[in-house]
């Protein structure tokens, strides 16, 4: 028997209720929202900017959420709204890093901005699987847009419309990016078939 308390509709209602209370200054409600969505926000950030900067992006995301809750009207799922904020901060950070390289200048022909996402030490070691190494390397080699679309759609289970909202683009563009991401990943993971 399915548990209605954990259905997507019920989860969304719970989020809206917590957001309503947090908007009115209830810090406990906001802490609950952080608990509920922190893992996905941090995971998404880590895949975009790398583990070293994921903490900062997650922090910036929740600071923005706390100070901007008045702008959340419930038109989209709270998780989608949060991931949109995270994507903005990640894009900003990637642009900044591209303009202010800390090491040798990157080769402009490189496919994507790679900030060591595959060096996720504890997370990856916990699995201890060579497949994870290959997967993370393959993900790092994807352009950021494709990587984000694949993570949001295939890993986190967002709808095409939600991915488009997070990425501030169209559903058509998401479908295209996702198709290219899946093709590239399948090709790079071919040895594991």
């Amino acid at each position: 028997m399915s548990d209605l308390r954990h259905s997507p509709a019920h989860e969304a209602e719970a989020d809206d209720e917590l957001a309503r209370r947090a908007r009115l200054g209830d810090k406990r409600a906001f802490a609950d929202l952080v608990d509920r969505h922190g893992p996905v926000v941090h995971r998404f950030a880590a895949r975009l900017v790398g583990p070293d900067e994921a903490d900062d992006v997650a922090q910036e995301t929740f600071v923005t959420a706390w100070t901007s809750l008045d702008r959340y009207r419930g038109a989209s799922a709270f998780r989608t709204w949060l991931l949109g904020i995270a994507a903005n901060h990640a894009r900003h950070r990637l642009r900044w890093d591209a303009r202010h390289p800390r090491g040798p200048l990157p080769d402009p022909d490189e496919p994507a901005t790679v900030l060591g996402a595959h060096d996720a030490g504890p997370d990856r070691r916990a699995i201890g699987d060579a497949f994870v190494d290959a997967l993370e390397k393959a993900l790092d080699e994807l352009p950021v847009m494709q990587r984000a679309c694949w993570i949001l759609r295939d890993v986190e289970g967002l709808s095409y419309a939600e991915v488009a909202e997070v990425q501030a683009t169209t559903v058509t563009a998401v479908r295209g990016a996702l198709h290219r991401a899946r093709t590239a990943l399948a090709s790079r993971l071919e040895p594991w078939r």
Partner: protein
């Protein structure tokens, strides 16, 4: 490199499904480590807001609007069958509190007039306690929304 338990090579779709489920299964060590700092930092950030002038026997003081809103919300939460949706403090150019608009929802079947009056009384009481300013009844507007299903707030 292949999983030794696999007898049939996975298709491209199965491979991608395995990749996605592998990422979902990764532990959230990074988040567990970052969580306390992220929450503490976020809640330390002060929301940009105006203040209202409070008055007492020895002079005036300022109360940030979010503080007042939080106080109002806490008191209205104690009223059964009421869910506060929004509290708006209207402040004039001199930072004096001009009026308060409260949007609440009540469960279908509630005594609407009585609830509205209770809300209005509570708001006036909270404002007076927090700022020393006594609002007239017509300075507190209560917008009521009646809902079919009224879920508990906790």
């Amino acid at each position: 490199m292949k999983d030794e338990h696999e007898t049939v090579p996975p298709s491209g779709d199965e491979l991608l499904a395995r990749a996605a489920s592998t990422l979902r299964a990764l532990t959230d060590d990074g988040w567990v480590r970052a969580h306390p700092r992220v929450l503490e930092r976020a809640l330390r950030v002060v929301r940009p807001a105006r203040s209202v002038v409070g008055r007492h026997a020895h002079g005036t003081f300022e109360v940030a609007v979010p503080v007042l809103v939080t106080r109002i919300r806490e008191h209205l939460d104690d009223i059964g069958d009421v869910r506060t949706l929004k509290v708006t403090c209207v402040v004039d150019d001199d930072d004096d509190l001009d009026s308060v608009r409260v949007e609440v929802s009540v469960a279908f079947g509630s005594a609407i007039a009585a609830v509205a009056e209770r809300v209005r009384t509570e708001v006036r009481h909270v404002v007076a306690a927090a700022t020393g300013v006594r609002l007239d009844a017509d300075q507190v507007a209560v917008d009521l929304m009646v809902e079919d299903v009224h879920r508990p707030t906790s």
